[in-house]
C-alpha cells in the first residue's frame, strides 16, 4: 500500500544544460556577463572545498558533526547571490553556500559543528539567521520577519525581501505549512526555497509527497515552481525574480530547487544502507560545477590560468578553514550561564555563583 505513488515529472526551469550549453528560458531572461559567470564558478568551487575540508575536519575529530552540501552548491550559490544586502535569509542547517554568500566566516560557521557555540554569527550583521535544526521552525520565523518588513513599510523596488531554506522532508512538517498559510494570508514578502535533494536522511521523496513539491504552493494561493537546482544560472534568475516579486509587494513564492544530496546526510550517516550507487552516478552527470566549467571552456570565457587561480584560492581557503577551525577557542564552564536571559536573573545568577564556588573548590584542592 505504499507503492501507489504517482510521479508526475514537470519541466525543470533550466538555463544551462549539464553539457554547459546556455539555452536561456523565455520567462527568466538572465543578463549576465562572463565576469559574473566566472565569479559564480569561483563561489561554487570554493564552497565545495570548504565543505570537503569540513568533512575531513570531522573525520579528524575537530568537528563533532558536519552536514555536507555536496551536490547542492548551485542551489545555494544561485539563491544566495540573488539576495541583496538588506535582504534576510533564514537557513536550515546545510546552507553553507548561502552563508558564504552572506559573508559568514568559516570560523563563525564551524563553531556550532565543533561544539564551541550553538550559534556563531550575528544574524543581523550578515542578514543571515542562525542555523535552525528543528525542522520547519525557521519558515515561521522568516514569515514573521517578513510581516515585520511590511509593517516597516520596506516594500517596493528598494524593499526588503526574506528567504527561508528547508528540505524536501521539511515540507511534511506542520510548521512549514503554517508558514505557507501565514505568508499567503498576509501577503508577506518571503520566498520559500526548498532544496529537494531527494532524501530526508534515509527516506526518499515518495515518503514525503506524492506530487512534486512546488505544487504545494498553489493550494495555499501563491505561485510555486521547480528549477534545476544544479543549474546556478537558473537558480539565480528564478530566485531573483521571486525575491523581486516579494519585495514589490506581490507576496510569497515557493521555489523548489531540484537537486541531489551527493554525500551522506551528515557525517554520522551511512547512505549505503538505503540507497544504491547507480542513483549517485546518474546525478554525477548533472554536477553543478562541471557544467559551468564546460560552459566557460566551450565558449572561451576562461583559460587554464583562471581555473588554476581558483584552485589555488580553494587551497588557500582550505588552509584557512583548517586553521580557523583548530583555533576556535573553547568556551569556559561558566559560559553555561551566559545569555540565558537578557536581564539580570536572580536564579541563574545564583546557580552561576554556586557553580563557580564548586569549581574553585577543585582548584583549591589542585584537582580537575
Amino acid at each position: 500500500m505504499s507503492d501507489t505513488t504517482v510521479h508526475e515529472e514537470p519541466e525543470l526551469i533550466q538555463l544551462l544544460t549539464p553539457e554547459g550549453e546556455l539555452t536561456g528560458h523565455p520567462d527568466y531572461p538572465l543578463e549576465i556577463t562572463a565576469d559574473e559567470i566566472r565569479d559564480l564558478y569561483r563561489d561554487l568551487v570554493l564552497v565545495r572545498r570548504f565543505d570537503s575540508e569540513a568533512v575531513s575536519l570531522q573525520r579528524q575529530g575537530e568537528l563533532g558533526l558536519w552536514a555536507s552540501l555536496l551536490g547542492q552548491e548551485a542551489a545555494q550559490i544561485g539563491s544566495g547571490r540573488a539576495l541583496r544586502g538588506t535582504d534576510m535569509a533564514f537557513p536550515s542547517y546545510r546552507e553553507h553556500g548561502v552563508a558564504w554568500c552572506r559573508g559568514v566566516e568559516p570560523k563563525e560557521l564551524l563553531g556550532m559543528f565543533r561544539g564551541v557555540t550553538n550559534g556563531g554569527w550575528d544574524p543581523h550583521e550578515h542578514g543571515f539567521h542562525l542555523y535552525t535544526i528543528v525542522i520547519g521552525s525557521q519558515a515561521l520565523h522568516a514569515t514573521g520577519y517578513a510581516m515585520g518588513v511590511q509593517r516597516d513599510g520596506a516594500v517596493g523596488e528598494d524593499g526588503t525581501a526574506v528567504i527561508t531554506y528547508f528540505g524536501d522532508g521539511a515540507t511534511s512538517q506542520g510548521d512549514t505549512n503554517e508558514a505557507f498559510n501565514f505568508a499567503s494570508v498576509n501577503n508577506a514578502p518571503v520566498v520559500f526555497f526548498c532544496q529537494n535533494n531527494q532524501w530526508a536522511i534515509s527516506e526518499p521523496l515518495e515518503r514525503q509527497a506524492r506530487v512534486p513539491i512546488y505544487k504545494r504552493a498553489s493550494g495555499f494561493g501563491f505561485p510555486g515552481l521547480r528549477v534545476d537546482g544544479n543549474d546556478v544560472l537558473a537558480v539565480l534568475a528564478v530566485t531573483r525574480a521571486a525575491l523581486d516579486n516579494a519585495r514589490e509587494g506581490n507576496g510569497p513564492t515557493l521555489v523548489e530547487a531540484f537537486t541531489y544530496r551527493m554525500g551522506a546526510h551528515t557525517t554520522n550517516d551511512d547512505p549505503s544502507r538505503y540507497r544504491n550507487a547507480a542513483e549517485l552516478e546518474e546525478w554525477k552527470a548533472k554536477d553543478p560545477i562541471l557544467r559551468v566549467r564546460r560552459h566557460l571552456e566551450n565558449n572561451g570565457l576562461a583559460d587554464e590560468g583562471f581555473f588554476a587561480s581558483v584552485d589555488a584560492e580553494a587551497d588557500a581557503l582550505g588552509e584557512k578553514v583548517r586553521t580557523q577551525c583548530r583555533n576556535l577557542p573553547d568556551p569556559g564552564p561558566l559560559d553555561i550561564f551566559h545569555e540565558v536571559y537578557a536581564e539580570p536573573n536572580v536564579h541563574i545568577d545564583r546557580q552561576r555563583a554556586e557553580y563557580a564556588e564548586y569549581l574553585a573548590s577543585f582548584e583549591a584542592e589542585g584537582v580537575r
Binding site: L140, H141, T143, R151, D175, N181
Partner: protein
C-alpha cells in the same frame, strides 16, 4: 485611581504599552474586531489598526513562530493563546525556539515576546479550557513566568512584561477576570513592584500560605477563616524566577509552609518550592511543606471541578495538616 477589573486592567495596560512604544503589537485568534473571547483586547483593533492588532490564522505554532520573526525585526509582539489547553500546538516554537534563541545567539538576539494565556479552571467550561500548564513553562530555561492575582498587578505587570527583553509567559487567572481593585493608572511604571518580586499579601506568624494567580483569593479567604492561627499569605507573582528570599524569610518566622495551586500535584510548582524551601529552611521547618493541588488526573468534566480544584476547605485541610506535625 480607577476601579478596574483584572480583565480591564490588562486591557488598559496593553493600551498604555502600545501608546508608549509603537513597536508593540498584539496578535492572536479573535483579538481584533472581537477584542478576544474574554474582551481583554477590546478596542485596541479600532484604535491601533489591523497592522498592530493582528487577527491571525487559527494556528498556535504559527502565531508564536511568526512572533519570533517579528521580534527579530525589532517588534515586541504580545501573543494571546485563547485558552490554556490550546498552548500545546505552540510547544515546539515556545520551548525549542523562543526560550532558547537568546542563548543560541550568545546574546545577539533578544526575544521580547509576551505570551498571554487565560488559564485555570472554575468557569464551567468544556475540556481544554480550564488547565494550569505553568509547570511546563517554569521547567523551561529561558522563559520568565508570571501570574497576576489582582487588577493593580495586572495593569503594571503586563507593561513590565512587554518592556522585558526576555520572553514572558503571562498567566491570566480567567475565573478572576472580574475581580476589581482601585488602580492608580497615573503612577509611574518605575515605581511599580518589580515583576520578579513576591508580595506578602497578609502578614501572619504561625504558618505561611503561598499561592499565585487564581488561588491567592482562596488563600486569603482561608487565612481569614482559620481563626485559630495567624496565617501569612504570600502572593508569589513570579513563578520563574521565584523570589526565594521573601518566602524564606516568612518560613523562618512561621516554621510552616503550605503551597496551593490549581496545577496538578505531581511535578507541579509546589514540588519545586517544597524541595527548595526544605533545603534552605531545613532546621526551621516544623512540618514538611504541604501541597494543596489538583489531583493527578486530566481536568475533569465541569460538574466535577468544584471537587477537583483546591477550594477553601482543601486549603484549610492543608493548613491543618501542617499543624498536625
Amino acid at each position: 485611581m480607577t476601579n478596574l477589573t483584572i480583565g480591564k486592567a490588562i486591557n488598559a495596560g496593553l493600551r498604555a504599552a502600545m501608546e508608549h512604544d509603537p513597536k508593540v503589537l498584539v496578535m492572536g485568534e479573535d483579538v481584533g474586531r472581537l477584542g478576544g473571547v474574554f474582551r481583554v483586547t477590546d478596542g485596541l483593533h479600532k484604535d491601533f489598526g489591523a497592522d498592530r492588532v493582528i487577527d491571525t490564522p487559527l494556528a498556535e505554532s504559527g502565531i508564536v513562530g511568526t512572533a519570533i520573526g517579528m521580534a527579530m525585526r525589532g517588534y515586541r509582539p504580545v501573543v494571546e493563546i485563547q485558552f490554556d489547553g490550546f498552548f500545546f500546538p505552540a510547544a515546539n516554537q515556545t520551548f525549542t525556539q523562543l526560550a532558547k534563541m537568546r542563548r543560541r545567539s550568545a546574546g545577539t538576539l533578544s526575544m521580547p515576546v509576551v505570551m498571554r494565556i487565560p488559564y485555570g479552571g472554575g468557569i464551567g467550561a468544556v475540556e481544554h479550557h480550564s488547565e494550569s500548564p505553568e509547570s511546563y513553562f517554569l521547567h523551561t530555561a529561558g522563559l520568565r513566568v508570571i501570574s497576576v492575582a489582582n487588577a493593580v498587578d495586572a495593569y503594571w505587570m503586563i507593561q513590565q512584561a512587554i518592556r522585558s527583553e526576555d520572553p514572558v509567559i503571562f498567566l491570566e487567572p480567567k475565573r478572576r477576570y472580574y475581580e476589581k481593585a482601585e488602580v492608580d493608572t497615573e503612577a509611574s511604571i518605575a515605581e511599580a513592584t518589580p515583576m520578579g518580586a513576591a508580595r506578602v499579601a497578609r502578614p501572619g506568624t504561625d504558618a505561611t500560605l503561598l499561592a499565585y494567580g487564581p488561588m491567592v483569593k482562596t488563600a486569603l479567604q482561608a487565612a481569614e477563616a482559620d481563626t485559630d492561627h495567624s496565617i501569612e499569605v504570600i502572593d508569589l507573582r513570579s513563578l520563574s524566577p521565584v523570589d526565594y528570599p521573601t518566602i524564606v524569610e516568612s518560613v523562618k518566622k512561621t516554621g510552616r509552609l503550605v503551597v496551593a495551586h490549581e496545577a496538578t500535584l505531581t511535578g507541579g510548582p509546589g514540588a519545586e518550592i517544597a524541595a527548595r524551601i526544605t533545603e534552605e529552611c531545613f532546621y526551621h521547618l516544623e512540618s514538611p511543606v504541604i501541597r494543596v493541588a489538583a489531583f493527578d488526573t486530566p481536568y475533569p468534566q465541569s460538574r466535577l471541578e468544584e471537587y477537583y480544584l483546591p477550594d477553601l476547605d482543601r486549603v484549610l485541610d492543608g493548613v491543618d495538616r501542617a499543624f498536625a506535625y
